[in-house]
Symmetry: C2
Subunit: 322 residues, 2 copies
């Protein structure tokens, strides 16, 4: 992981300074909200992937920050709207923006960040870039909506679950990689390879997130333990557990989730069953298969330092503990 860490160390200051600069330019009503969400310790995985993909495919100009950071702004915009609509209290260990700054400020900051992300992508005067970004924004909005629909009417259904994690997470990471490729080259096969890497990496990323939700102490993640279950969210560890349970128990659980009447004791009991039954580990195993697919997708990439880092980034997704 040495090369990955060195790359992050090299790029992070530039990314963070650029994000802060753009957030400060926004109207005073929303710039503090933008600074709050952007300053709350995101991993900057999306900008890093755009930069790595662009560099790996030969982009040597130094004007990549608007494109790379557009994806982080878009991600932050969805967090602001999601946390407000979920009535979330916390985000990355800090109070959620809508509780600090208010409803209007938070909704409008999300709108502004979405608009700004889009505008930053348009700065390159490249139609394909705008088209990829537009589709990424569209997919992400659709994924957000699908997830909220699913949380109101949950099912223990792997296919729907996969659709949702692709929509809410993987498409945006795919878009980050696709944008990097389009910045560097007009080669459609290379763009598809980058997209395939990003999509599979994104799926793995969310699978690991959903596994960590059951096994990682809240002191590390900054989120409450078993938080997904408490919020009524069905994720793969729970689906795997319920595949082993009898039908009546599964139906009862679904009813309880739908009606939001799962007690704290029931939650703790299910979290324990998921852990002890090894269903979080099995979710990680699934993630490992997608990480392998992501690495395989890099086949057509030229041999270069960034290729090593992209492979390490895929490994990192699997080994992270928060």
């Amino acid at each position: 992981m040495k090369e990955l860490l060195a790359y992050f160390d090299g790029e992070l200051p530039g990314i963070n300074a650029f994000l802060e600069e753009e957030a400060r330019k926004l109207n005073g009503l929303v710039s503090d909200v933008a600074l709050h969400i952007l300053g709350s310790g995101g991993k900057r995985i999306r900008p890093m992937l755009t930069i790595l993909t662009a560099r790996a495919l030969g982009y040597d100009r130094d004007d990549y920050l608007p494109m790379a950071c557009a994806l982080e702004l878009l991600h932050s915009a969805t967090l602001l709207h999601d946390d407000y609509l979920d009535d979330a209290d916390m985000r990355r260990g800090s109070r959620a923006a809508h509780l600090v700054f208010g409803r209007s400020e938070t909704i409008l900051a999300g709108d502004a960040l979405l608009a700004l992300a889009n505008e930053m992508g348009a700065r390159y005067g490249k139609a394909r870039l705008s088209a990829v970004l537009a589709k990424g924004i569209m997919d992400t909005a659709a994924g957000e909506i699908e997830e909220i629909g699913f949380s109101r009417n949950p099912a223990l259904d792997r296919e729907t679950y996969m659709d949702i994690i692709i929509g809410k997470t993987a498409r945006l990471i795919e878009t980050a990689c696709r944008c990097g490729a389009v910045l560097a080259t007009d080669d459609a096969a290379m763009e598809e390879a980058a997209a395939e890497y990003g999509l599979n990496l994104g799926i793995a990323f969310q699978l690991v997130d959903d596994a960590l939700d059951y096994v990682s102490p809240s002191s590390e993640t900054g989120k409450p333990e078993g938080g997904d279950l408490k919020e009524g969210k069905v994720t793969l560890p729970l689906i795997l557990l319920m595949e082993q349970a009898d039908e009546v128990a599964a139906e009862e659980l679904l009813d309880a989730l739908r009606e939001r009447r799962l007690s704290a004791e029931q939650c703790t009991d299910i979290v324990t069953q998921v852990r002890d039954g090894g269903y979080a580990d099995r979710t990680r195993d699934e993630a490992a298969a997608y990480v392998q697919k992501a690495k395989d997708a890099l086949g057509p990439f030229p041999d270069c330092p960034e290729l090593t880092v992209l492979r390490q980034a895929a490994e990192y997704v699997l080994t992270r503990t928060k």
Copy 2:
């Protein structure tokens, strides 16, 4: 106005069918919200202006609907978020979407329409088009934010008022015209002429709207009479009235607006003063000057049926009563 009406009659069915088709394709959670706001009788001025500008500048392909309708979707997205954040009860004589469909549905429908608008503009594979649209979205989001900031801390200041009506209304109408021009031609001077027409038309449009708010019966506008004042909004008719009042009265009014403690009687009294003092009419006079600027901007346009209609559209803005 014969040609204008004929043009609307010719294009409206296509615009409405296309908008409905796109709204129906959205996720079930938000498509009803989109159909509600799109079906609530908007005038489709933005799509019409895109079509007219494109046609006037020689665009003869029949694939103009996504671009034209993108502007209407963007406009609808801002209405959804605005009405929710304003706690508005009514929109165009119907119940506001958030009261019919709920908070999450309305916020997310706004996000989806914004994303869709952007995606529709990207369908043409033309970088300049995406850049113009991206800037239009950015300006509109900024204008929305500025207006809400202003409503919390109102001033009786013409310059700020002009900034706000440009941001919240005129930039989007400018964008509609600019998009039509870019669709048709790479001639930057023609794009600027179209933009100048749209910007001035948009300013006039909002000035008339703000005048109508004081003089048009609510049965015609579908909005409560003197609604802006009741919502604490400072518009030009009020600024003109207060320019004649003494400073103490003006300060008292501002304080009352800021603290939302204007009584129904005070509102009625001010509305009467605005009417009887002719301040709504003077606002219309200002609008007439912008209409003239809009018509003048059409100078470089080639002589064609659409030029006649664009001129009539400018006149219509001035004569409308709702």
